[in-house]
């Protein structure tokens, strides 16, 4: 179950202090600290609760090369998508480049590509985002991908992107225009 912390009607769980003290006093043999890569590897296995962006960010830029490798080469789609999520949270130029490649990958799976495109909206500066996503908006094959590019552009850079979005919608077959509704709604008034 995707859990929603803090929405419980009952009073927030508080670990009794006595239990904490006893636990701390118990004998414990510490193993070496996990490496950043080991930590990132573990985060790729989220099932029904996403790894918080703050957890990815705590790994810092040292996690980027590993996540980049997973995104580019891993055989399991959900791991690639999770790597894209981690890169989107951590950010930086190298992460952005890896996300851009995934977003532009015509043969990449939708979950990976959509995570990468949404991630670009987070990590790319507003002056760079249109240059990254407009080619996808105007040139990619699948309508869902074009529509998502429009959605991200309309959210992050509406002032400079909405005219291009409207033009693209006008070029779309009538049956496909509904897919752009989120973007066109945001672009009203722009």
């Amino acid at each position: 179950m995707l859990r929603i912390p803090g929405t419980r009607l009952r009073i927030t769980l508080v670990l009794p202090l006595a239990a904490v003290a006893l636990a701390a006093a118990s004998a414990r043999a510490e193993a070496p600290e996990p490496t950043v890569q080991e930590r990132a590897e573990a985060y790729l296995g989220a099932i029904d609760r996403p790894v918080p962006a703050t957890a990815w960010q705590a790994l810092g830029p040292d996690a980027v090369p590993f996540l980049e490798e997973v995104l580019r080469t891993d055989a399991i789609t959900s791991r690639r998508a999770a790597a894209a999520s981690g890169l989107a949270a951590i950010g930086g130029d190298r992460a952005a480049q890896a996300l851009l490649e995934a977003a532009q990958g015509e043969s990449e799976r939708w979950s990976v590509r959509s995570t990468a495109m949404r991630g670009l909206g987070k990590v790319l500066a507003p002056d760079r985002l249109p240059g990254a996503l407009r080619p996808i908006l105007e040139g990619t094959g699948a309508v869902a991908v074009r529509a998502l590019a429009a959605e991200v552009l309309s959210r992050e850079t509406p002032a400079v992107s909405c005219s291009a979005i409207r033009a693209q919608v006008a070029r779309e077959p009538t049956a496909d225009r509904a897919a752009f509704s989120k973007a066109t709604t945001r672009c009203r008034g722009q």
Partner: protein
Amino acid sequence: MKLRSALAATTIALAALGGTSCDSPSRNKIICDCAQGQRCISGRCVDVPKQDESIFEPTAVRADCPAPVQVYGGVVGPAAPPAAACARPIVDPRLPSDWVVHRERVPVGTEISFPVPAGASGLTVVLQVVDAEENLPFRSLNGVATVPNTAVPLTITDPGGQVWFDDRKPLPADGTNELVHFALPSPFTGTLSIPNTSKALEVVGTQGLPGGTWKLVVSDYAYECAATTEAAAICGPAANLTPAPDFARYRAGVYDATVIARPGPAPDVGTLDVALYVHPCPGGTYTATGACAVTPLSAPGFASDPPMQRMVSSLAGFMAGAGVCLGTVTWYDLPDWARERWKSGLDLDASTTCDLALGQLLTLSVPGQHMNLFLVPTMLVTDSSGTPGNVVGIDGTIPGPSGFSGTVQSGAAISAEGLRDTSRCTTEQSLSCGSDLTAYIAAHETGHFLGLYHTSEADGAEFDPIGDTPVCSCDQCAPASDRASCPVGRGIVTGPDCLRSLSSCGGGRNLMFWLLGSVSTGRISPEQSRVIRANPLVR
């Protein structure tokens, strides 16, 4: 990780352990009165075997199961989408008729009485909304939040007057000594099931539930806020926010309340039927012409599709580890309109308490005493910071309304995006094989539906109410460099963290750990198995 061999090597029957009795009041058994080298497991001191992991974790007796029977069930649901954008069907239970001991449509605050046969092994209350508030404001650490108006009894009392459940009481740090644990929002259709804690298993295990007339008070969160004093401190916005809500003006909810009492003991080896609903495009990737970019899934073609067959076989293996055999697996197709609506996957960001993207999908489930699993193309989710997240499974509620197919909480959804990622599949079961991975996710979500919580949550501060699943607490098990984040709830525990410390961390291999990965074996503890086998879905 070779899952099958690991399971075989570590399967230990508690009955064979013996040992002197001991008091095991707290979970994780850090503290108990056993000799050195022993641990207190379910009230007995047992020698701790030397294993290649942090602490001893008992494992359920694995069932020896025949292969499940598989059939094609046709196309489900209406041919056209429902007129209502937010359908909330009220359905009849499809369980043995003598298990249904009460059904009544009543307003919140109503006390209802119902008979429970002596020795019953389980009790389930299902509240289906007829009319109620959808959301209510709620005080949180960050000010005000909106929470779903969860349907949950206010109290449940046995014939001797013992209160088994009182939703006004604070959630304890250790849930194992609760008679009932209920910890998740559950709007519209709320389910509460007994037993789901160690304490309740102890009671049910010795003499079954007390027979006679039980009572419960039908309620929801809005009623608790409006009509009880205990909730006043946490209902509504913070004091400095105005206007304050007038809870007395909330309309009183009306619910269809059904009580299920399972007579006699739960089976030693259970049988679970499964309904699999298939969207044809795993991954949701399409070509420019709109065709699915990977080989489509076809429910009628299940028998000749190796990844689909491997997933079922693997799911059967995981459930066998819980002491449950898969009986009949029925494959269903979604209607054309549903294929189109969910063609890009399940948009969890679109979920609200009314327009539940998941909930509306779950209403398509067909009536029956079976587990409903929807294979969707993928799942999309965004966190509060706007960062795209990644999840691969989602369950309606914990537990789910077993036997009540067709409600907004009647099953779970599984991302099928990895089902055809078979390049690393070998003859061994492995999470590097996409079909096995999909099965693991399906088994995990089935565990939730049947009543199991995560053994340890991501923050390492919340744990399941099961005593024989070790906890992995942030302040004990997270890397030392991260522990400063634990008190503020920003720590994270991973599977390897839970194997690292030698004396007090565990649970990372468990099927119900919040992450899957290299250490996952799909292990289920004896008490987890008992919770599952007591569920009304398990025959």
